[in-house]
Amino acid sequence: MSAAVKTEQEIESGRQRLRLWVTSGPGLVWIMLFLLLPSAVLLGIAFFSADDYGSPVLPLSVQPFQQVAGYSLLGWDPGNIIIVLRSLEQAGIATLVSALLSYPLVFFILSRPASIRPLLLLFIVLPSWTNQVVRTYAWMELLGPAAPVSWVAHILHAVPPDLGLAPGRFAVTTGLAYNYLPYMIVPLYASAEKLDWTLVEAGRDLYAAGLRLFWHTVFPQTLPGLLSGIIFVAIPAFGDYVVPQLLGGDKALMIGSLIANQFTETPDWPYGAALTIIMLVFTGLGLVGFRVLTRKLGGAEEATI
């Protein structure tokens, strides 16, 4: 009797497993075949030598990583380290700017009647649905030498005459913040929407006001949203390609352009692959760091699947 029941359960669970594979299989296999396998190949290439055309050839070598660290036939050069630090700095400032702008915007939307909030949110997200190149060259025009913004900068002596604010580091940071602002606002809005206002009232009853009230009642409650926002902004901003390429010029080069050059203009695939590994290491460290932070601060409410 009990054996028969067990087999029936086994048949049922076998059927479930079959259904799981029939439905989820194609999608998962697609991603594995066309993304996981290719990125594994890319990472593998970092351990090969480069031939005269920059293609990977045997023997295996650590030379690509020496190049990343700045060693070449001409000796040591800090160029790459400067570029990595600059990428971290520019992505960091862009993330900070979006976080600082997001708080007033999110609470502004929440202070409006519930019926128009979706529309206000839509108008935040809408620009990010246009193509990235269009969005970015729009800033080339806005910050270029001919635009009024640059005249103001001339008057303030922020930039030399006949030069605009773009290309340059200011333009890159602005472009990154503009591109990724919605990725900060949406998760922050989601957590601010669920805010428990009785805690704010309690704080007010205890004579807290202004920034102190915000810091002790609002900020801790919105922290999970802020942390996801930081991840969604900092990671793509650090590895961005279009913005530094169009708004950067030589002096604001970021790691993305450096990597892309090894596959387009001056091919050196193994070196490019080694640079990619460095970029992924930073990305991974950032992710793990924020995950640990989120868990510690007790805001683990993500993970939809």
Binding site: S13, R17, R19, L20, V22, T23, S24, G25, P26, G27, L28, W30, I31, F34, L35, L37, P38, S39, V41, L42, P104, L105, F107, F108, L110, S111, L122, F123, L126, S128, W129, T130, N131, Q132, V133, V134, R135, Y137, A138, W139, M140, E141, Y178, L181, P236, G239, D240, Y241, L246, G256, I259, F263, W269, G272, M279, L280, T283, L287, T304, I305
Partner: protein, 279 residues
């Protein structure tokens, strides 16, 4: 809840930010109406030039094929994936194996698009030189676009299914619906908004993308964003580039608003109907 003084401060910061979000886009539109050479004022000159530019129309056609083709495929794959994971994955599964599907789904979302694009470039290059298949072109771009859209569709469908009453599936089973029947007559209608949403999201992601397209494109598969990018690299931002940009921005804004108001209208109608039933 928010004191009046703070409200004013919030408005004072927020409206300028809203204006700033649209200033660059408005500037593109403004410059697109620049006059013909040696003339002053505003004109539709740049748009007239576009009409005679066969390359732009070819690029536009390719962009549409890319967006629609990839979104349709990723909607099919993603819907099945989201459905399968929600319905058939054992809820109490633990251990390393249980997390693998989620890890696979989140990789395309988390991976920087530059790494994504370059991985595809190298992979297609190897496959092509080994087998002769998958030479860089529209086909490789479509494959890459499907790959980054599938997770978003799957998550949209998953979220919709996870919000449903689980007894719905039992009820279907009690009425002798087998797997395929319940998929066709229960799941598809119920998940339909998520499927449409996923499809539109796929199109949006495809239109928004430049980096992945750039690295998977071949010489004969210039799409609109790549056309703009190389035009800027060659001769800077011309009125024609501004005209294309304006049309792209305009299309997206109109589509987004139409979609927004249609779904809102339907939601309200739904609420109204529900209220009517109770009464």
């Amino acid at each position: 809840m928010i004191p009046r003084g703070v409200r004013y401060a919030l408005s004072g910061i927020s409206w300028p930010v809203y204006a700033l979000l649209y200033t660059p886009l408005a500037l593109v539109a403004y410059y697109s109406f620049s006059p013909a050479p040696n003339q002053t004022g505003h004109s539709l000159y740049a748009y007239g030039q576009l009409m005679h530019d066969a390359a732009v129309f070819t690029a536009l056609r390719r962009s549409l094929i890319l967006a629609l083709g990839s979104a349709a495929t990723s909607t099919a794959l993603g819907t099945l994936l989201g459905y399968g994971l929600c319905r058939f994955r054992a809820r109490n599964a633990t251990g390393v194996l249980a997390n693998i599907p989620s890890l696979i789904i989140y990789t395309p979302i988390i991976m920087p698009s530059l790494v994504f694009g370059i991985s595809e470039l190298i992979f297609f290059n190897f496959v092509h030189s080994a087998t002769g298949f998958l030479g860089a072109g529209l086909q490789t771009m479509i494959i890459a676009h499907i790959t980054f859209q599938v997770p978003y569709v799957a998550l949209t469908v998953y979220a919709r299914l996870a919000g449903l009453d689980p007894y719905l599936f039992d009820a279907a089973q009690d009425l002798y619906a087998d797997g395929i029947k319940s998929f066709l007559y229960l799941i598809i209608p119920v998940v339909q908004p998520a499927i449409i949403g996923g499809f539109l999201l796929g199109i949006t992601l495809s239109i928004d993308d430049f980096t992945i397209s750039f690295f998977t494109a071949g010489p004969g598969s210039v799409t609109l964003p790549i056309y703009i990018y190389s035009a800027i690299a060659r001769k800077g931002i011309t009125p024609e580039v501004n005209a294309i940009g304006t049309l792209m921005i305009g299309t997206i804004v109109v589509l987004a608003l139409v979609h927004f108001f249609i779904t809102r209208h339907r939601e309200r109608a739904g609420q109204f109907a529900a209220r009517g039933n109770i009464a």
